[in-house]
């Protein structure tokens, strides 16, 4: 992970993360970005649960392109609020989307298309505060439409249950906008729970989210998505999200949280070891 982040995610990159929505969020990659003190990132994702909040609080982020930033089961995201309302630890720019419009933007990127027309967001103020969206008239029907221009992330990071050494990565469960985000990106970092032989991938090629030619790096790490779940591997650690919510209301609380779980931990293996029995209790997730 250290090498993949160092090599493929320089300062100023646009990075798509958390594109399967609530599950399979690449928390370990986000934590490595924080440890390497990455700066001026643009974060792209529909909803990020608390990963975007952590990167914002750590000062890594200049811009957020998202439909929703918060703590899904606990409420508002404190670092996001501090940054947007008070410029702490720095001012950030926010480009508002809905889940559909950001999915269409990434799909346009994946297709090599300039934009995709839609009926969503007509009448929403998102059309006014997001300067990239444009209202237009459909040249065929004469009806009003919204044009959603393509988003092409520099890097997309995905978590999958398994991958082979070439980077063919398979994800079970809902994909959210992960497939579009991976295909739209210039580079993809695959973080897989398990390394398998290419023949195993070939037994179920419909489950492949990222094909090898799109993968720039493969990182094998157990528990990379914790506290979010990974179908068939581990459950969501609800209490971890709620503890984070309670603990990060003030900036000092966030700093303490960060040094305990991110900067004070060298890598994901040490993080999982620190979770201890809590980690083992999560490992009975229902299989698909």
């Amino acid at each position: 992970m250290r090498d993949a982040i160092a090599r493929f995610v320089p300062d100023g990159s646009s990075v798509a993360l958390g594109c399967a929505l609530e599950p399979a969020i690449p928390f370990s990659a986000g934590h490595e970005l924080i440890r390497q003190r990455r700066r001026d990132l643009t974060l792209i994702g529909p909803i990020s649960d608390i990963l975007f909040d952590q990167l914002i609080g750590a000062g890594c982020v200049a811009k957020v392109v998202a439909a929703w930033v918060g703590n899904v089961s606990a409420g508002l995201a404190h670092c996001y609020r501090r940054a947007r309302e008070q410029g702490i630890p720095r001012r950030i720019e926010v480009v508002d989307h809905s889940n559909f419009s950001i999915g269409l933007a990434l799909l346009a990127g994946a297709l090599g298309a300039p934009y995709i027309p839609t009926k969503t967001l007509l009448g929403s103020d998102i059309c006014h505060t997001n300067p990239t969206l444009r209202e237009a008239t459909d040249p065929f029907s004469g009806e009003r439409i919204v044009l959603v221009p393509a988003i092409r992330p520099n890097v997309t990071i995905v978590v999958a249950q398994r991958a082979d050494a070439d980077g063919n990565a398979q994800l079970w469960g809902p994909w959210g906008v992960s497939e579009e985000a991976a295909l739209a990106a210039n580079r993809v970092i695959v973080v897989a729970d398990e390394l398998v032989d290419g023949d195993v991938i070939g037994e179920d090629p419909n489950a492949t989210l990222v094909p090898a030619p799109k993968a720039s790096a493969v990182v094998i790490e157990t528990g990379a998505a914790h506290p979010s779940p990974l179908q068939g591997r581990y459950r969501r650690d609800h209490e971890f999200f709620h503890e984070y919510h309670r603990g990060t209301r003030a900036m000092q609380g966030f700093d303490a949280w960060l040094s305990e779980w991110v900067t004070g931990v060298p890598d994901r293996a040490a993080y999982i070891a620190k979770l201890g029995a809590r980690w083992t209790s999560l490992r009975d997730a229902p299989r698909v």
């Binding site: 909803i47 899904v72 996001y80 609020r81 809905s98």
Partner: protein, 245 residues
């Protein structure tokens, strides 16, 4: 509130289930009057049976186990855009007399006093579902004459506004609050009080609303949750994580 939300789902309908209370409303509807309803979750899940255990998010493994379809967000949003989804739920920080919902900014969006999480899929559901079910705590600061920011459009400034801005269908059919049930005038599209919950009153609903709330001539008390509805809620959320606040 949850029981009333469940009653808004008709049997056999395909509904977009949102986060939080709608997760429970779908379960209650399935276990009582709407056993054939189908739930769609915006991360790309369709299921015809409620999950076996309490969900904290729609992406929890129990919501995927036993699902009938796991797919991409744009596919389920495509069903919505095609008009094939009967109803969708959203909550929010504030709503106005024409059912416009704000989940984005309190104050001026360029210098907000509060930055709220944003749309998620809420704006898409509000724009594209055949009807929208809005759930909100009933407080004067939340039910406002005009919201600061329209994340999820209701009826705009009323009348035929949705058609004028090019929306293909839809709009809120109901606003369910902690105090009562508000419905929308078919002509003006303004919200009015249709019923007040047991323990509340017309006066309380009116005084906790930030505009001059009209009251239906036949306003009545909301039907109390039935034994079956209460059972479904308590069985699914025994510790009251979602339903005790």
């Amino acid at each position: 509130m949850v029981a009333q939300a469940a009653r808004e789902i008709c049997d056999g309908e395909t509904v977009f289930v949102g986060m939080r209370l709608p997760l429970i409303a779908f379960v209650v509807a399935k276990r009582t009057h709407a056993p054939n309803a189908i739930g769609i979750f915006e991360l790309g899940v369709m299921r015809d049976a409620p999950s076996r255990e309490l969900l904290y998010t729609m992406g929890d493994p129990p919501n995927v186990a036993g699902a009938r379809w796991c797919t991409r967000t744009v596919n389920v949003m495509g069903l919505l855009q095609r008009g094939e989804v009967a109803a969708g739920f959203i909550g929010g920080a504030e709503v106005d007399r024409f059912g416009n919902v704000n989940t984005s900014y309190i104050g001026d969006p360029s210098r907000p006093t509060v930055k709220l999480p944003g749309s998620g899929g809420g704006a898409d559901i509000a724009c594209l579902a055949q009807r929208l079910i809005v759930i909100m705590a009933h407080e004067k600061k939340r039910l406002r004459e005009r919201v600061d920011y329209v994340t999820s459009p209701g009826y705009g400034d009323g009348g035929d506004w949705r058609a004028r801005v090019g929306l293909p269908r839809g709009g809120p059919s109901v606003l369910i609050t902690t105090l009562g049930v508000l419905r929308f005038d078919p002509g003006t599209k303004e919200a009015f009080l249709a019923s007040y919950h047991p323990g509340s009153s017309v006066d309380e609903c009116v005084s906790e609303t930030g505009w001059a709330l009209r009251v239906a001539p036949d306003v009545r008390e909301t039907a109390a949750p039935s034994a079956a509805e209460l059972n479904a809620i308590r069985e699914y959320d025994p510790k009251g994580f979602w339903t005790n606040s």
